[in-house]
């Protein structure tokens, strides 16, 4: 096996799962998350020898794919509201509440929070990835974390409205 192929395999093994976690948290759709992560690896493989930071590259590509697909899916869902069948695994109570809470966050806030918690990304990295200013990212994180904490502290069941503090 060529060395680069071995490296790619190791990289794939180490990165597929955490990336899928992030994109599932963002999209709420596990199949979609796996699809975009796999597609990102397919995009990376032909360029493998030229990628300086494959981890960052694949993450960016996966997030961009997920974002554009998610926006398309959201538009479609809007048109066919109620027709979509959800096949979601069963998280614990906090996971359920978190999914519900994440779904209420604006897209960019949700992306920032997910990257912060699941990718251990710094504010600078999130700013680079999203193309936003660091101050904006801090604001997203502050609001997003506050909203999630409020949801979880109140232990609001999924689908309920957030009570005002």
């Amino acid at each position: 096996m060529p060395p680069d192929k071995l490296d790619f395999a190791e990289f794939y093994a180490a990165s597929f799962r955490p990336l899928t976690h992030q994109l599932f948290a963002h999209t709420g759709d596990l199949a979609e998350a796996q699809d975009v992560v796999q597609e990102a690896f397919c995009k990376a493989w032909p360029r493998w020898s030229t990628l300086d930071d494959p981890g960052a590259w694949v993450r960016r590509v996966a997030w961009n794919l997920a974002t554009s697909r998610w926006r398309r899916a959201r538009r479609l869902l809007h048109l066919t509201r109620g027709a979509r069948e959800e096949h979601a695994p069963g998280p614990g109570p906090d996971g359920v509440a978190l999914r519900a809470a994440l779904a209420t966050l604006p897209e960019r806030q949700r992306q920032a929070v997910v990257l912060f918690y699941l990718a251990d990304a710094s504010i600078t990295e999130i700013a680079e990835l999203t193309g936003a200013a660091e101050g904006t990212v801090k604001s997203w994180l502050h609001r997003g974390r506050a909203a999630l904490a409020l949801r979880l502290a109140d232990d609001v069941p999924a689908g309920s409205e957030v009570r005002s503090a």
Partner: protein
């Protein structure tokens, strides 16, 4: 702080909950997908090349009186002709209908003998019944990341083939903006060139390897699916990856 920890715990709970359902398709699946896409692109390119060759071949047909070149390549045309030398031609008498059959083909293969032998057929064998096969150059390109190798698999004597690579930058509205291009030439002396694709650092669009100097549009509209004339695209790869 406690609330933040709870958020973190909730994320852990969420990711733990999906782990049993995660089914990574695997590295082999990545390789297979990439291979399949390459083959599909090459197949499209090859089909285009065959189509061009077929059109070129058809264009020469009017110059041929005998549309039976395959028959003319049969191994023993002279033997077919020899016994009939001095005898009436077995071919139909009308030139206009003498388009098929071994004997007439044999005549085309050995014009001198046929002309001598068959008085009534004077003039017929002097027609260029089958033109020499046209030389059709073929070019291929392979890319490994940004490294490109463009090679002429067949190059005709004295021919110079213009090739170029072009990269586009993808735009949010779906259109593509010309990002970089380079023109190169292939000759008999240098039938292979290497190049490095320069791609947009922000929104990687498609790249193309072209031949014969087609016009390179500065912008490709989102709805445009064939930005280059048929037969000029040697290889290409789609790409719509915006990194910011």
């Amino acid at each position: 702080m406690l609330e933040t920890d709870r958020v973190r715990d909730a994320f852990t709970d969420l990711t733990d909950s999906i782990d049993p359902f995660l089914r990574p398709p695997g590295v082999e699946s990545v390789h297979t997908t990439v291979r399949r896409r390459r083959q599909r692109r090459l197949g499209v390119t090859a089909a285009a090349a065959v189509a061009v060759a077929a059109v070129a071949g058809l264009a020469q047909l009017p110059a041929m009186e005998q549309p039976a070149p395959v028959v003319a390549d049969q191994p023993a045309p002279a033997d077919t002709l020899a016994p009939t030398a001095g005898a009436p031609s077995p071919a139909p008498p009308s030139m206009g209908t003498a388009s098929a059959g071994g004997p007439s083909a044999a005549v085309t293969r050995t014009p001198g003998r046929g002309q001598d032998a068959g008085g009534p057929r004077t003039g017929r064998p002097t027609e260029p019944a089958m033109p020499p096969p046209a030389c059709a150059s073929t070019v291929s390109a392979t890319a490994n990341g940004s490294n490109l190798v463009i090679a002429a698999d067949v190059i005709c004597p004295g021919e110079t083939i213009a090739v170029s690579w072009v990269t586009y930058e993808a735009r949010r509205d779906g259109s593509q903006q010309l990002f970089a291009n380079e023109r190169l030439t292939l000759t008999e002396a240098q039938d292979r060139v290497t190049a490095t694709l320069r791609e947009s650092p922000t929104c990687v669009g498609p790249w193309y390897v072209l031949r014969d100097d087609p016009a390179i549009p500065a912008t490709i509209a989102a709805e445009e699916s064939k930005p280059f004339p048929a037969g000029t695209v040697v290889a290409s790869e789609d790409g719509e990856i915006c990194l910011s």
